[in-house]
Amino acid sequence: MNGQIGLLKNKWKAGLYLLPAVMAILLLVGYGMWSAVAQSFQAIDGRWTADSYVNLFHNQLFFDSILLTIRVTTIATVLALAIGLVLTRLLYQFFKDSSAKILVWIPILIPHFVAGYLVFLFFSQSGLLSSLLFQLGIIDDRVGFPVIVQEQFGIGIILTYVWKEVPFVILMLLPVYYEMDHRYSEVVRTLGGTKWDSFKTVEWPWLLPILIETGVILFAFIASAFEVPYLLGVTRPEMLPVRAYEWFYDGDWSNRPLAFSSMIVPGLVALLLAISSIGAIQKHRLRLVKGRVR
């Protein structure tokens, strides 16, 4: 009984300590979100209406944007996770050295718009790489260099996000490898399993929850970030945040509710995705520690 009371007191204390941070988030982010939701349901004359959502789902620009957003985001997320996983698996011993860890930190410290600009400088047709190839005589003309940035498939955007997010994936996965009991891999080997069996049985179950969590974070971030697609994308189709920005700053104010609803719909999808994946991850983690999930 005393123990329970003590636990309750500790919970209250923890809640109290967290209150300033929670209040700041609720006031700043919460107010912004509430304001966006409210404005998405308001017509230009102040009427409450769901017209913006109806219009959104009849708008071809929205569908073109969302398709591009899903494609670019999925490819960038999957590539970042895969490359991050392979690099972590190969180099986690090397990353124990703090100076090696700094190498991973560097891309994280660079802002996304700077990373986008660097990709533009390197990979555009008038960029450093095309100049180098031209100087070396590998291409006859700079125009012969393939169009990687500001093209409709979003290759430049994907490149930027992969470069920026791989270190984030590595930093998320490193603790898993450091805390993993590597004797289990040896058990697998002595029971006749290959290195691949060892990866599937020992490493993958622990990696999966972190990969899902990291994937959800990356997906939500890439799908809603503005600077990189604005810098490296094309006019049509554009990624959803750019489309929302254009509706917001359009000369026609009647499109403003569309700007809000076009961000709220994917926001809700991302939220549902996060909630359901967190539930699945918790079950998976419990299974790892305790076996059966009751």
Binding site: E186, V187, V188, R189, T190, L191, G193, T194, G291
Partner: protein, 329 residues
């Protein structure tokens, strides 16, 4: 018996440190070989080399006439049981036991049958669908043993598998494991730093120190006739002196005021504990190089200063005494 394993001048170094130094021994089919030695003497490294988890720096390992030096761990008919059970926490008991069989492409029906038979042998029939966290320490080690034995390896390597269990459980499991290994006719190489465990598990015993085997023989021989002072200190049941070894049954404790005849040697000590063995009071006496459990004709008290006494004629010379002397010089 036929030869199963031959290790010739095994060498293993970690950077500049020699861990295994020309370890040579052989093992017959069905034999249970135990290696005893202090922590850090290279026992575990030896097992890891045999299992293929470490690459050796010299020598050869021949199993069933074939060299294992370049063989991967999964290609050796050798299974290693670790100090901890290391059951996969997300798999049930039956899934853990069938794990190796699945890797060897045994059909599902066969692997379930074999696993169930093995679980019956380790007395865990009703626990097929339990998860490791639902088992006690002893049950976990039994599952680990079943997981290893179900593969019917030519050689089972046991790396102090009972060290994490309490004394009573350890004792009962030792007997069970030994019996099971005999039933299954599986050869074993058992390593431990526990003297009693080493003696009980061994058909043949090797004493290891500083990466070398310093004595190999039958348990009784090794215990009663240690070949060197090092061996005596690790495994000998008695007192290891510079001039030789005195078996424990020749030593007794006497009050420090008691007269000691000239043909007896006396070594000062102190009673640290009093116990009963075979319905007789016994005294644990600490002396310069350790402790011994001895009897006494007179009643002694805890904390009392005493002499450990033995006839000069009972001192057995070390077989390798010359070598030992050379080393000291």
């Amino acid at each position: 018996m036929n030869q199963l394993l031959q290790c010739n001048t095994l060498k293993k170094n970690y950077s500049q440190t020699t861990i295994l130094n020309d370890v040579t021994f052989s093992l017959e089919k069905g034999e249970h070989f135990t290696v005893v030695g202090p922590s850090g003497c290279g026992k575990t490294t030896l097992l890891r080399c045999l299992a293929g988890l470490e690459v050796i720096d010299g020598g050869d390992i021949i199993l069933n006439g074939k060299s294992l030096v370049t063989a991967k761990p999964e290609d050796r008919s050798v299974v290693l049981m670790f100090q901890d059970a290391l059951l996969f926490p997300h798999l049930t008991v039956i899934e853990n036991v069938t794990y190796g069989l699945k890797r060897r492409k045994t059909s599902k029906k066969d692997r379930i049958r074999q696993a169930e038979e093995m679980l019956e042998k380790v007395k865990l029939t009703r626990w097929n669908n339990a998860y490791p966290h639902e088992l006690s320490g002893g049950q976990k080690q039994r599952v680990s043993l079943a997981r290893a034995l179900v593969l019917k390896p030519d050689l089972l390597l046991l790396d102090e598998p009972f060290s994490s269990l309490d004394a009573t459980l350890r004792e009962s499991l030792r007997g069970e494991v030994r019996e099971l290994l005999r039933q299954e006719n599986i050869s074993s190489l058992f390593i431990t730093h526990d003297r009693d465990e080493a003696i009980e598990m061994a058909d043949r015993l090797a004493v290891m120190d500083n990466g070398e085997f310093i004595q190999i023989g039958l348990p009784y021989e090794v215990v009663t006739n240690p070949s060197s002072i090092e061996s005596a200190m690790i495994i000998g049941e008695g007192m290891a002196l510079e001039e030789g070894f005195i078996p424990l049954n020749k030593v007794s404790a006497v009050n420090e005021n008691e007269m000691i005849e000239p043909n007896f040697i006396s070594i000062p000590g102190k009673v640290t504990a009093i116990t009963v063995k075979n319905n007789q009071p016994c005294y644990r006496v600490s002396w310069e190089k350790g402790t011994v459990l001895v009897t006494s004709r007179t009643q002694l008290h805890q904390g009392e200063s005493v002499y450990l006494k033995a006839g000069r004629g009972t001192i057995k010379n070390y077989i390798n005494q010359e070598k030992h002397r050379r080393q000291i010089q």
